[in-house]
């Protein structure tokens, strides 16, 4: 076998490897349904009083340096999640009066950040939460891709981490609900399987049509999210994006990823052919 054939063999193997990899993407979706189902949280904005107990409980549970902000002025401006505040409650003034909305990672069904992460530091757990791990490179591609702008980066540190809500995954594994859900005094937050939460949300809509808009936010957005919202006013008034499609964002990269093996095969054949055709005959 001469060098050229050897190289072709290598290329063919790599080609089939990448083809297999691309197909592997499809495989994980066609996998059998296992016992675990996604967990989620239903946020009923008509029940939230804006006490911010969830903020404090979350920070406390994660050991973050959270500063309590109290008093009326706190809701004057919109606050955002930060590297030390993984969830935040904001007040929106609507025609139906003030509405308090909790913001945090949406724990999408098919998350852009998970697809983006090239070292699998962002993981979608089988139980639903999207969590971050320390083998992260700090490339911030997850931040770039997240439609909700959730992951926060510790720019001011020499050993920066990505901070975001992790649905209290470790608490869940030891049988407890997320800290925010536990702390909520008015049961604005409900923790359960996504299936159950959707049923409950629809039940509430059916039972109280004057109270709720007949729409569950997060049911279909970017393929569905783990956090679901009910509200009495249109969601774009509550700081939630309503311009998102139902197609999960990783689906957009699928055609590109598929093209990798195809281009390999086509380029190899085409270029070798071109090279042979255009070679000048040496007398």
């Amino acid at each position: 076998m001469d060098r050229r054939d050897f190289l072709k063999l290598i290329m063919a193997s790599l080609g089939s490897l990448s083809l297999g990899t691309a197909l592997g993407v499809k495989d994980s979706r066609a996998r059998e349904i296992n016992h675990k189902e996604f967990m989620g949280v239903l946020v009923d904005t008509t029940r939230c009083m804006g006490c911010k107990a969830c903020e404090a409980a979350c920070a406390h549970s994660h050991g973050l340096d959270y500063k309590e902000e109290n008093g009326e002025g706190v809701f004057e401006t919109l606050r955002d999640t930060t590297t030390t505040r993984l969830t935040v409650v904001n007040r929106f003034l609507t025609e139906k009066g003030p509405v308090f909305v909790k913001k945090q990672c949406m724990h999408c069904n098919i998350p852009a950040c998970v697809s983006a992460c090239l070292v699998k530091a962002m993981k979608k757990r089988e139980e639903g939460p999207v969590t971050w791990e320390e083998n992260c490179m700090g490339c911030r591609y997850c931040m770039f891709s997240c439609p909700f702008g959730i992951p926060r980066f510790e720019y001011g540190s020499a050993t920066p981490k990505i901070q975001k809500c992790d649905l209290c995954y470790d608490r869940y594994l030891s049988g407890r609900p997320p800290a925010c859900v536990e702390a909520c005094p008015n049961e604005a937050l409900l923790f359960g399987t996504r299936r159950e939460l959707l049923l409950e949300a629809r039940r509430r809509i059916a039972l109280y049509p004057d109270r709720y808009l007949p729409y569950v936010y997060g049911e279909k957005e970017v393929g569905g999210t783990g956090y679901l919202y009910l509200a009495s006013v249109p969601f774009d008034q509550l700081g939630l994006r309503t311009d998102l499609e139902s197609k999960p964002l990783p689906e957009y990269t699928r055609p590109f990823l598929y093209s990798e093996p195809l281009v390999l095969i086509f380029w190899c054949l085409f270029f070798l052919g071109l090279n042979r055709i255009t070679k000048k005959e040496e007398k």
Partner: protein, 421 residues
Amino acid sequence: MRESTRFTQFLIEELKPKGKILTPFNVISGITILLGAVLIAIRFIFGLSYVTNLNQEYPWGLWVAFDVMAGVAFSGGAYVLCFVVYILNAEKYHAIIRATVLNGLLGYMFYAGALVFDLGRWWNAINPFIGREFGVNSVLFLVAWHFFLYTICLVIEYSPVLCEYLSLKRVRLFVKSITLGTVIFGIWLSTLHQAGIGALLLMAKPNIHPLWFSEFVPVLFFVSSLFAGLSMVIFEGSISKRVFWGRVKVDREHLIRHEEIILSLGKACGIIMFGYVFIRVFDFVHGQHWHYLPTQYGLLYLIENIGFVILPMILFSIGGREKKALYVKIAALLTMIGVIFNRFNYVFLAYKWQIPFSMKYVPTWMEVIVTMSIVFLEIWAFRFCMNRMPVITEIPEWAKIQDQEKKEETVIPLKRKEGKI
């Protein structure tokens, strides 16, 4: 024993600067590089926020947009010319292939290498390569691996020059024999990672302004890498001419062919850009983006596409047709600015476009200095190689003999076959 001392003497001799040390360029670039080194040290010791303006809304800024995206697009000249010279066997361009491959190799080493400065947890940068878990669904994974493998390809493609420089005769024979395979592999790698850089933006669809976003962003980036790379070849060629032609004994073929090549490449750029413009027109009409034009973003879009794509396209075409090298060179410069502008738009100008301009990310002077120092370092490395290695100068006699023998090798078997018949 004697061999190693001879080599060290050679090394010391070669490391001495050739030419004047205190030129204005050297002084400016030297100071910038020193300053850049200090800034990078601060970045590593204290954190990104001490040097950059990157924030939670804008995770990617000047370093990603310029070093990684634009820098890699410019280094694309290497794969385009390798295609033309090694696949299409177009002898005319043979004269500049070495300089182009050198520029590409240094481009990947420096610009893609500068990526490490941007990585927050840079010590994990080897994870995509030898880590425990591979995010194979990530476009960035693909891009990272392609960068890595392609740099190796470029090393192989450049190694004949190194071999001639270091008189490694047998190694040269070997690397020359695997050149074709390497080139094909390299073109595949390039196609996909140039497109891949565009594909990185696909998931950011909700955040990128509709005038820029398209499902065909990978195709747009691939096509723009073609003319970005060629523009860089034209640009680098013009500068090299001014700087190096008096300093080194330029190979005759290079001298003769240079202007011809510049014009042909310019013409090619013009044609490719025509296609690119139409792809963008397709996107525009398809998405019915008319109502975006009379906005600030519309203005940005028009400036980028009319001033820095259509205008250079016209200049390339006229220059190529009327054989005016000056037009081609100006067009190349405009194109390069346009590509940089285009990448900036995708990464932080037209990204998170709902945020008002006053609150957008603006790079710090420190980020600019670091970027400039990388550019200068690359130029220094380029100059180092041009002054010492047979990039545009004549190759040594033994190398010519090797090539001649190789050519005869492929002819003789043919003769033998004929003899049998």
